[in-house]
Structures are given as C-alpha cells and as structure tokens.
C-alpha cells in the first residue's frame, strides 16, 4: 500500500531532534508540517516556488552545527532542479532534501508532474554529486530515513513516493515577517 503523506510526515518527525530545523516547500508540504502543530522551528513557505532547497542550503551553511531538512514536493523540486547541482558542489554535512513525490501538482488540480512521466529525481541528485540518497516506498524505508535525519552527517537526498491523496489543509501563518523573525530567533537560540 502506498504511503499516505500525513502518516509519512508524522513518521519522519516522530523522533525529531531539537536541533533539526525544517523548510517545507509551498503547498502540501507546508500543510503537512503544520498538521504536526505550528512551530517556530519550521519556515513555512507559501511561495518562492523552486527556492526551498536553496533556502535550506543558505541556512545549513550559516549554521553548520544545526541540522536542516528541506521537505518539499516533486513539482517544487522540479522548478528549482539546478539547486541540486549547486548543493552537489557545496555538500554541507547538515543538509537533507526530502521530496514527497505524489507525481502531481496538488495546488492546481492534481495535474501530472514530470515524475509521472519517469523523471527520476534520485538519479538527478546522484548525478549532481549527492552520494547519500534514499528512494523510499514503504514504512520501513520511512523509518530508516527518519533515523538518518536524527543522525545527519552527510548531504542527503531522499524521494518519498506517496499516494496522490488530498488530506484537509492545515494552514500555518502566512505572515512572512512573522515567520522569518520567529524562525530566526529559534535558530539563534539553538546555538
């Protein structure tokens, strides 16, 4: 049975360490993270499509002692695929990019994305020089990935194949200034 996105995010974050900061990509991944409770340690994106991984890179480079997870959708990743090349050059040890791949553009009516037609994001990441990759299809794989996030020590890319379901939206704050200030304070407090 294919993974459901809300169960998948709950599994990934079940043992979330205090030093893990999350940048969820716009749309469903922002709602997925908010479904676990709105937190200062999550920088919820409502736009900037294609920018999630690069926000994660800037943060990871600035704070090498913290862990950073970008959790975004296949469409968002496809729009900024060059970021995988840029991350492949920098390879910070504390950055994970996790793509929830439902092969659909959820916000616009579930139209097929390139991954539906066979584009392989794990292959792209590997070709860009990211050696530690995971292609997750089941609960066991998800639990392995959750453990990797807790003990992150090398740039990591994971694709999590999820069902194209459409759970109720859980909306965090949309105020960009508020999101920025509270996240930045939480990062600074974490050291």
């Amino acid at each position: 049975m294919m993974l459901e996105r809300r169960k998948a995010i709950a599994t990934l974050m079940a043992n979330r360490p205090k030093d893990l900061f999350v940048v969820p990509g716009l749309g469903s991944c922002t709602y997925d993270m908010a479904s676990l409770g709105e937190k200062d340690s999550d920088f919820y994106l409502w736009g900037a499509m294609g920018g999630a991984a690069m926000i994660g890179l800037g943060l990871a480079l600035a704070k090498p002692k913290l862990k950073v997870a970008v959790i975004t959708g296949d469409g968002e990743m496809l729009m900024g695929m060059g970021a995988l090349a840029t991350i492949g050059v920098q390879r910070p040890a504390n950055l994970a990019v996790v793509v929830f791949d439902n092969r659909r553009y959820g916000e616009t009516g579930m139209q097929a994305s390139h991954t539906e037609h066979g584009v392989d994001l794990v292959g792209v990441a590997r070709a860009c020089g990211i050696a530690r990759t995971f292609d997750v299809h089941d609960q066991a794989g998800l639990e392995t990935l959750a453990g990797e996030l807790v003990a992150l020590k090398e740039t990591l890319f994971a694709r999590v194949r999820i069902a194209a379901d459409d759970p109720p939206r859980v909306l965090p704050s949309k105020d960009g200034v508020e999101l920025k200030l509270r996240f930045r304070r939480a990062v600074a407090a974490a050291g």
Binding site: G51, G58, L61, G176
Partner: protein, 172 residues
C-alpha cells in the same frame, strides 16, 4: 578582466567590513576579480549558482541562520530572479546585490540589450531599491550605503555598476 584594479578591491573591502559571510554568484567577467577575492577568503563561503534566482533564496536562508549574504550577477540575471524576489519582499529579508551592467554601452551583443533596459524597472517593481554607479571612485561609498540600508533596515538593495565603468568585453 583579471587585470581589473581599484573598484573590485574596494567593493571586496566593503563586503568584508559589512561582515558578508556568503557570496552567491554566477561566473561573470565584470565580477571576475571580486569573485576571485571572495573565493580566496577563508571567512567567505563562495557559492557558485546554476541560475541567479538560487542566490535570492540562498540569501534568505543565510539570514535565517544569522549570516549576511551578497549576490553577484550581471544584468541578464535579474530577469531570472523576478518571482524569487517575492520571498525577499514578503518576508522583508535584507538583500544586497551587485549587478554588472551589460547592453548599455559599447555592447557588441544585441541579445543583452532588452534585459539591460528592463533591469532597473524590474528591480523597482519587485521592491528592490536601486543605486547606480557610473564612476569608479563612487563604488565604495555607494556599496557601503547599500549595505547599511540593507542590513540596518531590512531592505532589498541593488547596486548597478555601469558597463562604461567596467569596460568593454574583450574576446581572447
């Protein structure tokens, strides 16, 4: 442009004085010396980008992590940044970019001209304040003013470096 002197070094000194710790760039002849100085500095992380909009998102991430970032690009790259500047605008991130102009003086390539003409209107439309520099002896002062405005007031500021000042592109 490896024989560039004067203003790139002064610009580098302003970046250091402003405690810039990350520099995003797409390789550029006009910024060649400044990029080389940044790469040689152990306290600056140089991040080569595949497209300029990556640098906009990088700057936001750096600021979330407590670091200051500058983006180096040429005028053609500004068009690539338009929607990503929504992130800067909506969240009121400080943002500092230095843009070498193409397509405005002694340009041999007509394909550079449209984006050159659109550079300032596009930046202004996305909420970025624009300073222009046409003389080498204005670079340091203007760059300092831009850095002050960006980081003391959470503004987005672009400094456009004129093509006449940078000099003709020479084929080798």
């Amino acid at each position: 442009m490896e024989n560039q002197t004067g203003w790139p070094d002064q610009l580098f000194d302003v970046l250091k004085g402003a405690d810039i710790r990350q520099v995003g760039y797409v390789p550029d002849a006009g910024h060649a010396r400044l990029i080389a100085r940044c790469k040689a500095d152990n306290d600056i992380r140089d991040v080569v980008l595949s497209t300029e909009e990556e640098g906009v998102a990088l700057a936001a991430g750096a600021w979330l992590g407590g670091q200051r970032c500058a983006l180096l690009m040429q005028s053609s790259g500004v068009g690539n940044c338009i929607n990503m500047l929504s992130l800067i605008n909506t969240c009121r991130f400080p943002f500092l970019t230095f843009i070498t102009m193409r397509g405005e003086w002694a340009e041999f390539n007509p394909w550079q001209v449209p984006m050159s003409q659109a550079t300032e209107p596009v930046l202004t439309a996305m909420g970025v304040k624009v300073y222009r520099v046409t003389e080498a002896d204005e670079v340091a002062d203007t760059a300092q003013a831009a850095a002050d405005l960006a980081f003391s007031g959470d503004f987005a500021v672009a400094v456009l470096l004129s093509q006449k000042m940078i000099g003709r592109k020479v084929w080798k």
